[in-house]
Amino acid sequence: MPRPTLLAALAGASLLPIQPVFAHGFAGPHMFVSTLIIDDPNVADEASLPTFSVLPQPNNGGPVSDLYAAEFEFDKRITENFGFAINGGYRWLTQPDTKTANGWENFSGTLKYKPYVNAEHEFMMSVGVVRNFARTGANGSNGGTLGNDDSSSTAPTFYFGKGFGDLPIGWARAFAITGELRYQIADTKLKVIGTDPDSGNPLFNNGTWNQWSGGLSLQYSIRYLQSQVKDFGLPEWVNRLTPLVEVAWSSPASRPNQSSTQYLIAPGIAYTAETYAVTVEALIPGNKQTGSHVGVIAQFHLYFDDLFPTSLGKPIVNWWN
């Protein structure tokens, strides 16, 4: 099993299972924008195509490896509040003094159901199951180097979003928070199967470990401020901006494991147009186990419900209506 790589986590692999499932959704007048390192609570017809990222890896004082990724996601509603998502991508890991490793990520799929929206209080919650399919991307030692798991896993997940429109302070009402909490269960648990006779280090099977993970985003909607609180006469392009900061975390929940608690902080800004959104965030490691240098992530996001409102942007059950 390779050393955990943080970007593997961003792509939904076993270590920091921050699934880049990105959607926008309304709870009353508050729209939650697409988030890049955690999933958002909405079920939608959207695509992230592509998401680019680069993240220097933990180096323990030595030369730094950089992990690049180009990823995609497709979200589709089956009914109004029930849908699925498919994630995949390609990675390049530059390694000092050796050849760059590259290959496909393992694919993952999500089923998500949004049972509750409270428009008056700008609240939304949903539940989902994320399945990471092992050996659908690069495997063997190359896949391991890139952070792909050899064991599939399943992660029940809870999502929520809450606008601050209830607050009595006008400017503060433009804030919103979204979050997720998930527990990842490995199909094959990691086990010690012996000892390396040369190094004396333990040898492991191809399994992985269970883990908790989650995250929060804090968003400030200029659109909400302008249309709900006070119109300051700002240009329209400014009204489309949403500064935000995301925080993601993961922690092993079973032993043995080959990871540790990791934190990632991602401040950035989203620009939301009629049919697309562009978001750029810095990736700041929260501890040494996560990394020692700042990376960056950027995404181009398409809203199919706005691009194709009478066809691909409708729930599948309504395609023949």
């Binding site: 309304f26 009353g28 007048p29 729209m31 428009a119 006008g170 659109r223 302008q226 249309s227 709900q228 609180v229 006070k230 119109d231 006469g233 329209e236 009204n239 009629e274 049919t275 809203y303 419900d305 706005d306 691009l307 194709f308 409102p309 009478t310 066809s311 691909l312 395609w319």
Partner: protein, 118 residues
Amino acid sequence: MRRGALIVLAMLAQASPAFAHAFLERASPPVGSEIAATPPELSITFTEGVEPLFSTIEVHGASGAAVSTGTPHVAPGNNRRLTVELPKLPPGTYTVIWHVTSVDTHKTEGNYQFTITH
């Protein structure tokens, strides 16, 4: 698999032009503003065209009582601007609650306040 791909292609081929959710772009009286006297009408300009038959604008006084307004209508040739007539209102803070359906059937909603000072 091939049949599924053909269905998707057919659906994309018949896709209508891109529209989007209707957000409040500008309002008169402006959102959060203080004005001296009641204007003859209240209008909201949205980022997309709206369907007046499926859109509402309500105005409520500080006590929560609804103000009698006319039926929402759009200006000829400009379906982005939704308007209602206003009666003469006493000084106070008023809340506007709007629900609109954009021309591509997306629904959005919002509310804001304005104050009449004299």
